[in-house]
Symmetry: C2
Subunit: 148 residues, 2 copies
Amino acid sequence: MMSEQSSEVQTILALIADWRDALEHRDVDRLLQNYDPNIIVFDCKPPHRLEGIAQVRKCWEECFPCLPEKFHAEHRDMEVKVNGNMAFAHGLFRFVALTDVEKFKDCFYWGRVTVCYEKVDGKWLSVHEHISMPFDPMTNKIISVDPK
Amino acid sequence: MMSEQSSEVQTILALIADWRDALEHRDVDRLLQNYDPNIIVFDCKPPHRLEGIAQVRKCWEECFPCLPEKFHAEHRDMEVKVNGNMAFAHGLFRFVALTDVEKFKDCFYWGRVTVCYEKVDGKWLSVHEHISMPFDPMTNKIISVDPK
């Protein structure tokens, strides 16, 4: 039998999988269904800080037209830690173009993502997201995180 | 009287202030005293992922000679959320050169930091850190997070 903690880890991994599926379907309502109304996002691009669901929604709505018609949203190396009513997850994320592959071939880098969750009235909500790419200090240019 | 939760927030803010002081004194033992042995750090520069205290120690020891002889470590807009035995903090961070000011004037950007904590045997430990700067998608160059 699964322990309570590992069952909560599975719940959060399922939330992340559902987020990915919502993103691939450009379903912004479903994408945001587990966001705390006051979420603070540190995005990888300007604006560097999004406060609250309305700003996150606007950001995704502006992002969708820039993405290929069809794409995969891919996570890997996700690790989840749960303790009581708080949890966090971290790992890697990238988009993979399924159409306009040539046009987008140098656009999508692996980035790092950290998500902090809080359980409110029995429901896990994202309260903070931090998405980024590291940079080369010699050039100040971002570099892709190549997974092992 | 302070609530238990706001008292824990104060404890974590004190840990952060002590970390800053240890950094300014290049005291790596003190800097790492509240790190979980298995901490995972997403650093802003390569290597993008540090696993465990030994790697974090090596990273700081290699970093110290590159810093000005005297500097301030500065946080701002730090927000802390505690729930039971887990917590997280996020905000902005930068170095400020106090010597060799001219040499370092374009080196230090405001970055974002997220730290996840777990209370183990009554002691708060950093279990995950994510440090980054956003980038301009037109140039792929990092940009400083200018606080309001």
